[in-house]
């Protein structure tokens, strides 16, 4: 079996290439830069289901008119520790970045602050949204709801999105502790990748269009649905994400928006919630040291690896050797960039 030929790009080269693709698809210069950095970061870290794999989805959704690539977000100050952002039907990342500095200022002043983003499309991984807060010494928790593709525990009808939860905390002497996990038993991007590669899934990941358990990713994508992770407990977290990501932000529930009139639309139109905390507030100067301690204790107790660690290894490799891309994929990206 022949391995696909790999071509290595520097991070900046990949960002420029992606930026041009976004610019060619009615994305504003500001937003194109943000989305390109985000997508390239995922690819660089080995988050492949949210890296260049997503480019056709971005382009398709932009072409459909479903998402506004040139949207200008509106930031609303709702009190000393509360910001709301209306993404105005644009992507979430430019929306929360427009409010980010103000959020950090609020956290530093008050000890904690909340940012609630609505009318927003999130089409990437969640870790890039929280990790930078930990790089600044802050603790961040974020949730985003998506599109109905998960049946409630014991149910038959898709209601929840994959509804990921991401958490980041600074760690002494090491990259931040970061996890980013879907509340579905598997991420939707991973089902798509398995379908594309003709692989079967493990049991317990999803149901077919009749609500019956299946291991076939195509049956899940073709009218079936995913299951929540961890039974009724994961289900409760998925429901909490709808409450925080949509009810609290003023965004749509995962089951609520109608993209059927926009053929090719792929980006969920929902909301995103951030809670950011200053962990050293009150003189707790040992916080980062304590995070390092509990991480080391987990490894010592037999936990194979910490979430996020594989990304940091992949990132370090990419810094040395460049980001490996399939030659064929790269050609497609270059064609899209040529316009």
């Amino acid at each position: 079996m022949a391995e696909a030929t790999k071509v290595h790009l520097s991070f900046d080269e990949l960002v420029s290439l992606l930026e041009q693709i976004f610019l060619n698809n009615n994305v504003s210069a500001t937003n194109a830069r943000i989305l390109a950095l985000n997508c390239a970061s995922c690819e660089r870290d080995g988050s492949f289901s949210h890296g260049v794999f997503r480019v056709p989805g971005y382009v398709s959704s932009l072409k459909s008119g479903w998402v506004d690539g040139a949207a200008v977000p509106e930031v609303e100050d709702c009190g000393p520790a509360f910001l709301r952002v209306n993404a105005n039907n644009g992507f979430t990342q430019p929306a929360f970045l427009a409010a980010r500095d103000q959020l950090v200022e609020k956290v530093k002043t008050n000890g904690v602050a909340v940012m609630a983003v609505r009318r927003s499309h999130h089409f990437s991984a969640l870790w890039p949204d929280v990790e930078p807060f930990a790089d600044q010494g802050l603790v961040a928790l974020s949730v985003v709801n998506s599109f109905a593709c998960v049946v409630p525990h014991g149910g038959k009808k898709a209601l929840f999105g994959t509804n990921p939860v991401a958490f980041a905390a600074p760690r002494e002497g090491a990259p931040p502790f970061v996890f980013d996990q879907a509340t579905s038993a598997i991420a939707n991007g991973d089902v798509q990748m398995a379908a594309r590669e003709g692989k079967q899934l493990k049991p317990g990941m999803g149901v077919d269009r009749d609500g019956q358990p299946t291991t076939d990713p195509k049956a899940i994508l073709d009218g079936g649905a995913l299951l929540p992770f961890g039974g009724h407990k994961g289900n409760s977290i998925a429901l909490m994400v709808e409450i925080l990501g949509a009810a609290l932000t003023g965004g749509y529930f995962s089951s609520e928006f109608d993209w059927s009139t926009h053929e090719g639309a792929q980006t969920p139109y929902t909301g995103q919630m951030f809670i950011v905390i200053d962990p050293e507030r009150g003189g707790n100067a040992v916080f980062q040291h304590r995070v390092a301690e509990i991480c080391d204790l987990a490894l010592d107790a037999g936990q194979e690896r910490l979430p996020g660690d594989r990304r940091h290894v992949t990132r370090a490799l990419a810094a040395k050797d460049g980001i490996p891309l399939d030659a064929e994929n790269l050609e497609k990206l270059r064609t899209l960039a040529a316009g």
Copy 2:
């Protein structure tokens, strides 16, 4: 098989009985009232593993000198939206209740606030801590770490506590949406109850002293350990609870405190973290309506019941008929109350 004879007590009768037991065991009047209300509420709602079942554990821990029933908590204002509370080796409930009004004021002023409790013993369910915030129209998230009885996913050595996460949100026309769930595959109290009743557990709940899977609750309690729920994802949440409940509060990790010098000690000496949000901040007056909507949608999609609903049914029954207690158990409680 003979059913145990049931005696029905009013809520107030049960509170008085429990209060006297705490008073007889070196608990201050203020703290005895708080603990009695908490324990009676659990029994009333059918949270049996945290109801009167816990009384011998409370008494044993108090007698051992491990926990200070007369502790006076110290509240520290750490900024506009951040409170710290030192429970001074007392129970958590009196500690956070000492700061509760101030916390709510901070939430109403700022939109969100954090309360970090340390040097505290939590020996009850977590839902009683968050539900009252939702009764006031607020959203509350709380975590508490406990004592090392959960092996990390893929590991062999107990490191995490059962580390529950509780969440409450107000819901229009219905009791609040509340969940309270251990990040272990099963709650420790439920393992104790199964052991007492001679029942086997479902597979996947725990390991024996050699780290091998077992369904015997006694093997889990006798040097074995629980497993996290939901594999590596539940594991990450358990680790987050250590970070928020201990590293951020300044409390001990679940694996860190040494109670071996206090024979009979049963109450974990850790920390507890609260994040409380004003969901209507910024003019989002439909929040409670939206929570009701997503709950109804979940039931409509086939979810059997919502977390917390069974408690509210049991509570309503208790309001009508009183709280049913085994006659034999009640006799033991009365003996303890007689002193």
